[in-house]
């Protein structure tokens, strides 16, 4: 990382001309570009939201256009967990364990009313929002949300990946350690 630290942390303006063309000064951006265009989702399909999740991957909505078509059923190969459906208290330990098995950096989409807040299931066997057990980055309302809304959520996660990389880069310039995960 060359250049004066902290002077123009985000923009290119005001930098020496040479530095704009040195790739290594923007390594974090390239990593983020790679990450955001190859998000591998872990489909945590627990209820009817999973049907919309499948529709998003199917040809009509075709999430392959965003590079996130490789749904991995092994958490060790995934970096985006899509919690789609009602999380019961019985399922919660398994879900937490699967999240823990995912390698860093990782992101979480809470899809639909049930996963985001418990939805209409205000009852004892249902976790009132999956963010009570795992950290959630993007919440999608709907019962279930349309596949477009889920694509919107994935686009939001892509923004978070870029922002996280930029924050890490600025932190490295300022001598701070990199954050544990991307956007948070």
């Amino acid at each position: 990382m060359s250049g004066t630290p902290g002077e123009h942390p985000s923009g290119m303006e005001g930098r020496p001309e040479l530095e704009q063309w040195i790739l290594t000064t923007r390594l974090a951006d390239y990593v983020a570009w790679g990450r955001k265009n190859s998000l591998w989702p872990m489909p945590m399909g627990l209820a009817c939201c999973a049907i919309e999740l499948m529709a998003m991957v199917a040809p009509r909505y075709d999430v392959a256009r965003f590079g996130a078509e490789a749904l991995r059923f092994s958490p060790r190969q995934a970096d985006l967990m899509i919690v789609a459906g009602t999380v019961t208290k019985k399922m919660a330990p398994a879900l937490k364990r699967i999240f823990d098995q995912m390698p860093e950096p990782k992101w979480v989409i809470s899809m639909g009313a049930c996963a985001s807040s418990g939805g209409m299931f205000r009852s004892y066997p249902v976790v009132q929002g999956v963010d009570e057990i795992i950290p959630v980055d993007v919440y999608i309302p709907g019962c279930p949300p349309r596949p477009e809304a889920l694509i919107e959520g994935i686009m939001k996660v892509q923004e978070l990946v870029e922002e996280g990389a930029r924050a890490a880069q600025q932190g490295a310039r300022a001598g701070r350690p990199a954050p544990a995960t991307g956007g948070r």
């Binding site: 040809p59 909505y61 075709d62 807040s117 309302p141 949300p145 919107e152």
Partner: protein
């Protein structure tokens, strides 16, 4: 007991041609090739949108009438009927004829299941389901929409009930003022 039906035989050893896998590869490539000439089904989402039907139920929103007055009178019917209890209302007294309005009107969009019961039950036609379906949020607090945001989402809708004209000014409403209703209201006070 006699056995009926004929069991399926295992396929025999593959021939030399099958061992090269060429027939299977060509068959697969033929399927791929055929799909190139078929009509394309993918909707290019952020640029291309789905044609929403007239009665589509998206996120709920409050509406104002043609003179930009909040139509909601804080009757709490929508809060009562809401299956996931997503609506939170606090009423206040207002200085016009309808006497009551919402001070706080919040809808937790993460609870909301877009069932449309609130729209159905509302006697003042003050809450409607919009066609908004692509909202996402970064936190739970962000997804609890306050009154201002709900009114902004809803926009204007002309009031077919015209309760304000009836109740606030007799002059504007002319002869359509119901005297018994007026008398009843003052008697109630």
């Amino acid at each position: 007991m006699p056995v009926s039906g004929k069991p399926v035989r295992r396929p025999g050893r593959p021939g030399l041609l099958e061992l090269t896998y060429l027939p299977s590869i060509l068959k697969g490539m033929w399927i791929t090739l055929r799909h190139i000439f078929r009509p394309k089904v993918t909707m290019q989402y952020p640029e291309q949108r789905w044609q929403l039907p007239e009665n589509y139920r998206g996120l709920p929103a409050l509406v104002k009438d043609q003179e930009e007055r909040v139509k909601c009178v804080a009757c709490f019917l929508c809060e009562y009927v809401c299956p996931p209890k997503a609506i939170h209302i606090e009423a206040q007294e207002i200085q016009t004829g309808v006497e009551k309005g919402p001070r706080v009107f919040e809808i937790n969009m993460l609870r909301c299941i877009m069932c449309g019961y609130c729209e159905e039950v509302c006697p003042e036609q003050a809450i409607f389901l919009t066609k908004e379906y692509t909202t996402v949020g970064l936190s739970r607090a962000e997804m609890i929409f306050p009154k201002d945001k709900l009114l902004e989402m809803g926009g204007l809708r002309p009031d077919p009930i015209k309760k304000w004209g009836r109740l606030t000014s007799k002059r504007e409403a002319g002869g359509r003022v119901h005297e018994p209703a007026e008398a009843g209201r003052s008697a109630a006070r």
